[in-house]
């Protein structure tokens, strides 16, 4: 049983219509010497148990900052959350006490970081680091906790787990370290797992192993998963739905099949078209022109307008809301109809 000493903690059990996790109009800003960086400007997405949401987008678009806000690991200051809610089973995490928040973090919402080498502590054995989860959060004895660590290393398929439990992180390959990170993140059976670029630093063959492992763990426990990535292949493989970010905003939300078949935002469309295709060999690749936006000096109106082939005059002045296309899709483009139909601006 989970310890629920605090009555403010989110309930467990059936959810009804309520999503497991809902980010609602989240804003995050950083005070920097150069000015206020508005890294997240009204992000909304939601997740149900067993579902995989892929968050896609350019470098610096706010994917990780949103995840860090959900985990409650942003440094405040310089970070500030001026607006928005993060509801976990209906409870706004941003209104919880620090103590209650700590109970949620790692136990009910867990995260895997991109760089396993720097996320693991080089001076402790991997067994000690995994078993720490059980000693701290479950009050287990050292011996029981170590037994649990071996069990978990087995579960993430580290060969000869029993012999390797006392090895240090540098004695493992990149793929194995990522497995150890995964072991730590699922140690306490979280309901939500946030994986921030879990395979970016790895080879494709190892990536395939890790993605398969994550899918299996998810099937076993019905975890909801938020997968942050810029790999359109990985997304097509595992996601149920997708949120595309650009300049700190969601520009498109859609089920995976819809978005690959007919994107409703020019940025998404550009990304999909720039994938090299066999039949286009020898021709120029489609390239989105121009540069990603500078958060300190965001374009007026629609942030994508300097790069957009569909741009009209009002795009320069009016920031598009996230228009509802249907109950499951949204696009932050004034001209989403034209984009869906495929006729260029």
């Amino acid at each position: 049983m989970r310890k629920t000493s605090l009555d403010t903690l989110p309930a467990e059990g059936g959810l009804g219509d309520e999503p497991l996790l809902a980010v609602d109009n989240l804003h995050v800003e950083f005070a920097t010497r150069a000015g206020v960086v508005r890294a997240v400007n009204g992000v909304s997405y939601s997740l149900r148990p067993g579902e995989t949401l892929a968050v896609l987008g350019e470098s610096g678009s706010g994917k990780s900052v949103t995840a860090q806000a959900i985990m409650g690991i942003l440094d405040v200051p310089p970070a500030r959350i001026p607006k928005g809610e993060i509801r976990f089973r209906g409870t706004d995490l941003l209104k919880l006490s620090d103590e209650a928040r700590t109970q949620v973090r790692g136990q009910r919402i867990a995260m895997i970081f991109q760089d396993a080498l720097s996320a693991l502590n080089p001076v402790f054995t991997v067994g000690w680091q995994i078993s720490e989860m059980f000693r701290i959060h479950r009050g287990m004895s050292r011996r029981d906790a170590t037994a649990k660590a071996v069990e978990l290393m087995d579960r993430v398929r580290i060969p000869a787990a029993k012999q390797r439990v006392n090895d240090y992180p540098h004695q493992f390959s990149g793929g194995m370290r990522q497995r150890i990170m995964i072991a730590m993140s699922i140690a306490l059976d979280p309901e939500v797992l946030i994986a921030d670029e879990p395979t970016t630093a790895l080879d494709v063959t190892v990536q395939a192993q890790i993605m398969e492992l994550l899918a299996e763990l998810q099937r076993e426990s019905n975890m909801g998963m938020i997968l942050i990535t810029h790999d359109l292949g990985v997304v097509a493989d595992v996601a149920d739905k997708i949120s595309v970010m650009y300049g700190g905003r969601i520009v498109e939300n859609a089920p995976v099949h819809d978005i690959y078949q007919s994107p409703a935002h020019p940025y998404t469309k550009g990304l999909l078209e720039s994938i090299p295709r066999v039949d286009l060999k020898g021709q120029d690749l489609y390239a989105i022109k121009g540069l990603p936006p500078n958060l300190l000096d965001m374009p007026t109106g629609c942030a994508f307008h300097p790069r957009c082939p569909y741009r009209q005059d009002n795009c320069v002045t009016d920031s598009p809301p996230l228009y509802e296309i249907n109950a499951r899709r949204g696009s932050a483009c004034h001209y989403w109809r034209e984009v869906l139909d495929g006729d260029q601006g």
Binding site: G174, M176, T205, V235, Y260, L271, I275, P292
Partner: protein, 338 residues
């Protein structure tokens, strides 16, 4: 000047072993990391050879050997008929002009304290014959224009440019000495997806314009297919398969290539449940102690006794039309990323 299609680079039995030593005062060699272990291939003028393979298989070491930044343990790198691996002094300097490199990381490979003009013009310090002092500024501005940057930005510093722009600066520098060969080691991996396509298009345009030959190292297999005429697949210091892009991608004959291609996620969710995937078990063995016979045998599902005893050579095998290094090579149609 040679003409298109003519051989400009011949690499033969190239080997690079890094010594593994023990002891601090009296270093004793206890073994060697066999980073590159017998690699041979040719490159023609205007051609692109893609090189793929897992981390640590020796791609960057190979690149450094081609550039004569590392001296080979044995083997030869013959450029336009002359062996660069054995050249010294003035001759080596002259040969180096002909082969230049574009590096992976546009953020750290440029000196932050030098202006863009100085960075791109730096090769002229060594090769003064290419651009006399007074001519340099104009040459650098020309290069900036060629790679699609504003020639007026010649006095700016790297931090004033985006990642994609910095990669263009690296490319401009690579072009400064008008080489015939450019070695690109992961030239787009550090860039955003939306910027990668811009840089790849630029590389292709420059190739057509100047008849450049490329060695193109990358881990993104669909990018390699797009840009390459031929592709070499490396595993633990050796080339295990070499052929034209269609042969490697559509008819791979080596089990490792087959596994590698099937691991690439297809950017299309249709039919994903039915997709067949070869998931390799375990990690590649250490290059300090590679398996006997075929180096892939510890992870190969087709391995037989002979695989441990006899090293399979890179050659054209029965039933295939390109070279592969497997005793049981047979083509296999893979569904993979375009």
């Amino acid at each position: 000047m040679a003409t298109k299609g003519e051989r400009i680079l011949e690499v033969r039995d190239l080997v690079k072993h890094f010594p593994l030593t023990q002891g601090i005062l009296f270093k004793k060699q206890i073994g060697a990391i066999k980073a590159v272990d017998g690699v041979s291939f040719d490159l023609d003028r205007g051609e692109t050879l893609g090189i793929v393979g897992e981390s640590g298989c020796g791609k960057s070491t190979l690149a450094k050997l081609l550039m004569a930044l590392e001296r080979p343990t044995s083997g030869s790198v013959v450029i336009n008929g002359r062996d660069m691996a054995r050249a010294k002094g003035a001759e080596l300097k002259r040969m180096r002009r002909n082969i230049q490199m574009v590096m992976q990381d546009p953020y750290t490979s440029l000196n932050p304290r030098m202006t863009v003009g100085d960075i791109i013009g730096e090769p002229y310090d060594i090769h003064t014959e290419v651009a006399p002092k007074g001519d340099r500024g104009r040459k650098v501005q020309e290069l900036l224009e060629v790679v699609g940057l504003n020639p007026d930005h010649i006095n700016r510093y790297p931090h004033q440019f985006s990642g994609g722009q910095r990669q263009r600066i690296g490319i401009a520098r690579g072009l400064a000495l008008q080489p015939e060969i450019i070695v690109c080691d992961e030239p787009v991996s550090a860039l955003d997806v939306s910027i990668q396509a811009q840089v790849i298009n630029l590389l292709e345009r420059l190739q057509n314009e100047f008849g450049l030959a490329y060695i193109f190292i990358a881990h993104d297999l669909s990018v390699v297919r797009h840009i390459s005429d031929r592709v070499a697949v490396m595993y633990l210091g050796k080339i295990v398969e070499l052929g034209r892009d269609v042969e490697i991608y559509d008819k791979p004959a080596h089990p490792y290539t087959q596994a590698l291609l099937s691991a690439v996620p297809v950017p299309d969710p249709e039919g994903r449940e039915q997709r067949e995937r070869i998931i390799l078990q375990g990690d590649p063995p250490s290059p300090a102690n590679p398996p006997s016979g075929c180096r892939f045998r510890t992870r190969c599902w087709k391995a037989q006794e002979i695989c441990a005893e006899q090293e399979p050579l890179l050659e054209i095998r029965p039933g295939t039309r390109h070279e592969s290094a497997c005793h049981f090579a047979e083509t296999h149609d893979v569904v993979h990323a375009g």
